[in-house]
Every structure is written in structure tokens, then in C-alpha cells.
């Protein structure tokens, strides 16, 4: 204990409190921001790491909107799909009502028991034909895919639903928590209070259009092609063919039928980027803030320590003349900083948890995992020690002869 000279260092600090207090508060606030930022960054990164279950790299889609009295939605869909599927480089294509991760789509509520006022769960609905599984790069892991006879035409104002459906494993487990998901094939579920649908098969994984939805893997595929004047085509290509095929197919569709316009041509990759753009931006902004803030705090410590070294030149020279080693001088400043940092990180730990509680309350963020706090304390301790090392080294270089000089 005596070797570390904590007593004298502490007493010396108490004689010039303000500087030390300023550094301590700076460290506390810096820690608060850094720890909370890292926590938010990790959460967002985890969100962005999830996959949508479809072939994101090789898929794209577009919207076709028919107009005019002569437009025939049914024949247009048939001709278009045949043309797209026969284009070299295309693996498969479907008409679909909504695009995974795009942010806009349909949802319906489903219940296990028929009747009003029974518990229900929401799921996104994708309307696809028998090519859906292949185009979306899904795998039927139980039961069977749709076949041609399951597919029906859906009219513009139709309110009823087909008799069968494919559901994701996640949705099957959520609807029937008490039985293994494989056994849900053949079960009947209800869309709304009364409309029965038989589960024909289970697919591995596909996300709903809304990436921020907590039940993002609750998805139902229904076997139908829509007769709407405005619909989307979803196209999966062979690896590396997407960018070549996008303009080709757009042009082919536009010129094959003048009774419609083609718009919203976009790759799934770009759609995903757009959906997570806010998170990506938040990660970048918070990372930058964190780094800059740590540098500012570090430089502040360097500046104050340098000043304190300059002011104490004579005192340091005297100590050296009386036999203190260079190491002892370095140690003095390191220990001094350590004491200040300790106060700082303890304050910081309290403030970090406080800010997190505030964020939880105001913005419904998640609560911080406990180990973030000690980790943050450690980081700030290290930053302080690194920052003070330079000035301390300089102090150690002051010659003992300094004791004899005035100023």
C-alpha cells in the first residue's frame, strides 16, 4: 500500500479537486454513452444479421399495373409468367401479392378453433402458385407443396380464401405449441372466425414483409393467382444473372403489352438494404460518436495531465533529487489517474444503468445485459491509463537539477 503512495496522491488530489472532478465526470458521461451505444449497436447488428429465408442475392421483382378497358388481368398474368419462366437464366418466377422485407403486405389473423372471440395470431399472407416454393427458395420440410389443382384465381373484391395453405415452421409451432410441428400437417386452422384452411405442408423459413415485427417468421402461403389490375412478379435467377436480366425482363414486359405500365423494378438485395437503412445508419453514427468521444476524453486527460506536470516541474525535480526513481514518477501519475478514473467509472456505472432505464421507458429499448457495465468500466480505465502515460513519461524525464532552478 505504501509503495503505491495512494495516501499522499489522494491528499494532493484533494487540494486541487476541480480538475479531478471534471475528469471524473467526463469519464462517467463518456462511459454512459459508450456502453449504451455499444449495446444499441449490437442489438441492431443482430437484427440485421437475420436472413429472410429467400434467395436474396439472386432475386428481384417488379410491379405491373394495367389500365384501360381492354386490359385482361388473367391472360396477362398467364402470358407474362410463361414468358418470364422461359427466359434463359431465370430459375423460376411467380406472381405474388407482397415482397418479404419490403415493409408493405397483407396480414390476416388465424385461429385454431372456429368462432368469435377465440384466441388468434397474426401471420403475413403471400399468395403464390405451385412455383412459389422453388422461386422463393423454400424447402417443404413436412407435408407437400401445392400442385396445380390447388391453385385458384382470386378476384379483385373476393373475401374468401383457398382450402389449403403452406405455413412456416415457426408459425406451426406457435399455433400448435403442444404437438411437434411435423404433426400439424393436415390440421385445420381458421382465417378470421370461420374460414377453414387445411395445412398442406410446412416450409422451413421465410420472413414477413415487416422486419420490425416481433413475429416476423409467422407466414402463410396461399395457393392463388390474383386477377388484380396491379400485381407483382417475383423472379429468381441463376447466380450472377440478376443484373443482366432485370432490364431485359422489364423491357420485354413493357413491350409485350401496351395496356399496362411496369414500375418498381428492384432487387431483393436493395429492398433489404432500404428496410435496414435506419439501423445501418444508427450503427455508423453511434460508432463514430463513440470513437470521437473517447478521443476527446482521452485528449482532455492528456491536456490536463500535461498541465499538471508543467506546474509541478519543480516538485518533481525535488522528488527526483531526493531519490525517487523515474518509475516512481510515472507511477505517481498513473495511480493518480487510476484514482480519478475509479470515481469516474463508478459514477459511470450508475449513469449507464440510469440512461438505459430511461431508454427502456421512453423508447422501449431492451434492458442492458449486466456484463456490459463492468466491460465499460474496464475500457474507460484502460483509456485513462493510456492517455496519462505520455505526460507521465514526460514528467519522469524532468531532471533532478530542476529542483535548483527558479521557474
Amino acid at each position: 500500500m505504501t509503495q503505491w503512495e495512494i495516501g499522499p496522491i489522494f491528499r494532493a488530489l484533494m487540494r486541487n479537486k476541480v480538475g479531478a472532478v471534471l475528469i471524473a465526470i467526463q469519464i462517467a458521461v463518456t462511459m454512459t454513452i459508450v456502453v449504451n451505444s455499444i449495446f444499441i449497436i449490437i442489438e441492431r447488428a443482430e437484427l440485421m444479421d437475420r436472413t429472410s429465408g429467400i434467395d436474396e442475392d439472386n432475386s428481384f421483382y417488379l410491379t405491373t399495373t394495367g389500365f384501360g378497358e381492354n386490359f385482361d388481368a388473367k391472360s396477362t398474368a398467364v402470358t407474362d409468367l410463361e414468358m418470364i419462366r422461359n427466359t434463359p437464366g431465370v430459375i423460376d418466377a411467380i406472381q405474388i401479392n407482397a415482397i418479404p422485407t419490403s415493409g408493405g403486405g397483407w396480414s390476416m389473423s388465424f385461429q385454431v378453433e372456429a368462432g368469435e372471440d377465440k384466441p388468434d395470431e397474426g401471420a403475413a399472407v403471400y399468395m403464390v402458385d405451385e412455383h412459389g416454393v422453388n422461386t422463393l427458395d423454400l424447402e417443404v420440410i413436412a407435408g407437400q407443396n401445392f400442385d396445380l389443382s390447388d391453385i385458384r384465381w382470386r378476384e379483385g373484391n373476393s373475401r374468401d380464401w383457398p382450402d389449403t395453405a403452406l405455413v412456416t415452421k415457426a408459425f406451426a409451432e406457435s399455433m400448435f405449441p403442444d404437438i411437434p410441428w411435423q404433426d400439424t400437417v393436415g390440421k385445420t386452422i381458421y382465417i378470421g372466425p370461420t374460414e377453414p384452411v387445411i395445412i398442406k405442408g410446412i416450409v422451413d423459413k421465410i420472413q414477413a414483409p415487416w422486419v420490425r415485427w416481433e413475429d416476423v417468421e409467422h407466414v402463410v402461403l396461399t395457393p392463388e393467382i390474383t386477377e388484380f389490375s396491379s400485381t407483382r412478379y417475383f423472379i429468381r435467377t441463376e447466380a450472377g444473372q440478376r443484373d443482366t436480366l432485370m432490364p431485359l425482363i422489364e423491357e420485354a414486359l413493357a413491350s409485350s403489352n401496351k395496356q399496362r405500365i411496369i414500375r418498381g423494378l428492384r432487387s431483393v438485395e436493395e429492398t433489404r438494404e432500404r428496410s435496414y437503412r435506419g439501423d445501418a445508419a444508427m450503427i455508423k453514427i453511434l460508432s463514430t460518436t463513440m470513437v470521437v468521444l473517447t478521443i476527446v476524453t482521452g485528449l482532455g486527460i492528456v491536456g490536463l495531465a500535461s498541465f499538471s506536470v508543467n506546474r509541478r516541474k519543480k516538485q518533481i525535480g525535488t522528488r527526483r533529487a531526493l531519490g525517487a526513481s523515474q518509475g516512481a514518477i510515472v507511477r505517481y501519475f498513473m495511480v493518480e489517474n487510476f484514482l480519478i478514473s475509479t470515481v469516474g467509472v463508478i459514477l459511470g456505472a450508475v449513469a449507464t444503468i440510469g440512461l438505459n432505464m430511461l431508454l427502456v421507458n421512453m423508447f422501449s429499448l431492451n434492458a442492458l445485459d449486466w456484463y456490459f457495465v463492468p466491460a465499460g468500466m474496464l475500457v474507460l480505465w484502460v483509456v485513462g491509463q493510456i492517455a496519462v502515460f505520455g505526460p507521465a513519461k514526460k514528467a519522469a524525464g524532468i531532471p533532478p537539477a530542476m529542483a535548483t532552478r527558479t521557474i
Partner: protein, 437 residues
Amino acid sequence: MFAYYLRLAFKSIKRNPILSVLMVTAIALGIGASMTTITVNYLMSANPIPHKSEQLFYVQVDSWDPHDGANSNNEPPDQITWTEATNLMNAKQAFRQSAMASTGGVIEPEGQDEKPFMASIRLAFSDFFPMFDTPFLYGSGWQDSAGENRDYVVVISKATNERLFGGENSVGKTIRVVGKNFRVVGVLDEWVLVPRFYDVTTGAFDETEEVFMPFYMKQELELTNGGNTNCWKSPEGEGFAAFLQSECINFQMWVELRNSDEKAKYMDFLNNYVTEQKALGRFPRPINNQLSNVMEWMENQEVVADDAQIMMWVSFMFLLVCLLNTIGLLLAKFTGKASEIGLRRAVGASKTDLFLQHLVETAVIGIAGGLFGLALAYLGLEGIKTLYGEFVQNLVGLDLTMVASAIALAIVSSILAGMYPTWRACNIAPAIQLKSQ
């Protein structure tokens, strides 16, 4: 005297260049970060129609599921049904009123070479235009009777007018929208609303529509639903008429009420209306009607993004660290000047003189930090534009108010930061300082 202090300040700043740069940079970073986030928040929470935001009210009635509220906090649903939209419009109980909905349709330009294009359409009543003070370039909104008679009339945006008619006065001309011929009665001037308060269901920062059309065209032409459609029970029966008769919500309603008297009356009317509907077997939930003025509605709909608010608070804490940094450095610096201060005191400068002198020095650092910070804020906003893309376009402009407040914030905060070190410096006993010489 001020000029002399200024000279002294520059001298002192030059004497410790690294320290001075550190202080200016710290203030600049803090100000830059804060100004960037304040600007985004300020524009997100801006009042889009300041002169009458207190008189415009968004109408909510609770027509939802008896067993399950529309929201977790028992708020009424955020939109209304076709039935309510038409009933409330027919009642005409407010000074001005307009139910509305969004839809879209294909516009087919006249020329053979021109490609048809998709346009956003707002369905509204004639009061929409005077109520929201829409700026007209040519013509005006349609007459109330034209809306009721389901005349094929439209008001188009400035951009649409330029695309279709090269910007000339197109009032009286015909355009083909959703497969029908419509007569243009008005052309709007540039109309930017941040946020686009009248309908925030699909995003508060969307642009105003390209075409405005009488509300009943929805029924007449069976137009598609834009925005969000939510139903707590399925429509009874098939077809478009069944949808309109259903409990599905896809419509918004605004009323203009000039004073609290009118507001109280309208509220009474709404309560009576719901009671009547209850007698018809609708509105199974307890009466829960709400009238929110523009800013209340923006608050209710949480128009300011959470992330923007989090960033603003983080940047304030950042500024705090930068200021603490500056206080510490100034303190060190002024303490270092103790002997000089002692000397000046001894030769006759009063404490006030010294205080002013050091305040000037602090202010110089503050202004430098502020100006540099402003440049950083500009860069910061450019950065936000690149990170978030085109849909924040209207949220990242620096206006004069923001520039002035950035500089003011910089000066005020740096002077506040300089206060304590300056005070400490002035309280040095001259005798002791002179003795050590």
C-alpha cells in the same frame, strides 16, 4: 478596451496553440453533433401549418372490436370507416370538414410518345383546399356541388402540370386518369408539408399528392385502397359495395373548428352520433371519441422517430463532455497564467477588468468553436443524407434560425464553460504570485 482585450486574447490563444486547437475542436465537435441532431428533430417536429394548427382537428371514433381495442392503450382506431366518413360529411356540423383517403391510378398523357405513369391521388372534399390553405397557381378547388354531383374534376400538382402541360395554365383542359377523362379545375403551386400532417398513416414525410379528386370517386370508380386498411371483422358479402359497408378503416377525417365553443359542440355531435349508431347495433365499445389538433395528432402518431430522439440526447451528452473538457483545459490554462494575472492586478487592473479580459478570450474560443461546429453540422447533415437516402431530403436543411442558434449555442456554452475558470483566475491574490517571482 475591448480591442485591447481581443488582442490579449489572441496573444494568449497563440501562446498555447495545441491547447487552443484542442478546445476549439472539442467545442466544434460538440456543437456540430448537437446541431445536426437538433436540426433533424426540429424539422421532424415542425408545425406544418402554424397559423391554424390549433383550429384543425383530426377526428377519431371508436368503432372497433368489442373484445379487443384497436390499440394496446385503448386509443380509438387511427382511421375511420366509409360509413363514418360519409355520415359525418353529410351532417356538416363543423365550420369546414373533409373526409379523405389515398389511392393511386394511371395517368395517360395525350401524346402518343408519352408513356403512361402512375400517380398518387388524394380523395377529398371541397373544403380540403381552404382548410389546409393549399397554394393555387391557377384556378381553384372544385365547388362543393361538383363533389356531391360526382363531377369528373381534378386539381393537379405543379409537377404534374409541368409533366402534362409544360407548366402552362391548364384550367379547363382534360386529363385521363384511372381510365376516365377529368377536367382540370385547379393547379397547385409548390406545396411542401413537413410533416405531411393530414395523413401520416403511411409515413409522415411523404410528399403531397400529384392529383386531388372528389371523394365520392372512390365509390363511383371503385378506386383501390391506398395506405393501410384494417378490419376487425370481414366485410359481409362480396364486392366493392360490401367493403364500403364494412367495418374496415381506410379513411381520415379533418374538421376546422374556430374556437373551443365550436369544438365542444362538435364533440357533443360526435357523442350523439355514436349513440345513434349504437342503437343501430354498431359501435360495440364504450364511447371514446377524440379530436386532436395538428400538433397533438403529430405527438399521438409519434412523428418524430425514436432514433432521432435518441441521437439528440446522445449528442447533448457529447456536448456536455466537450464542455467539461473545455472547462478543465481553461482552468489549467488560466491557473498557468496566475503570475501574469497577479502582475496585472498589482499594476492596477480591477477584478472586473480581468474578468472581462478572460471572458473575451473564452468568447473568442467559443465563436471559433461555433463557426467550426457549424461547418461540422453541415457535414453531419450531408452524412445523414447519404446514410438515410432520399426520404430524409426535407429533414436535413440548415436554415437561418438553425445557423443563428448554432452560433448562439456555441457562445453561450463556451462562456458558461469559461465562467468558473475565469472567476478562479480573478481571485488570485496578487501578493503571493508576485512573491514567487
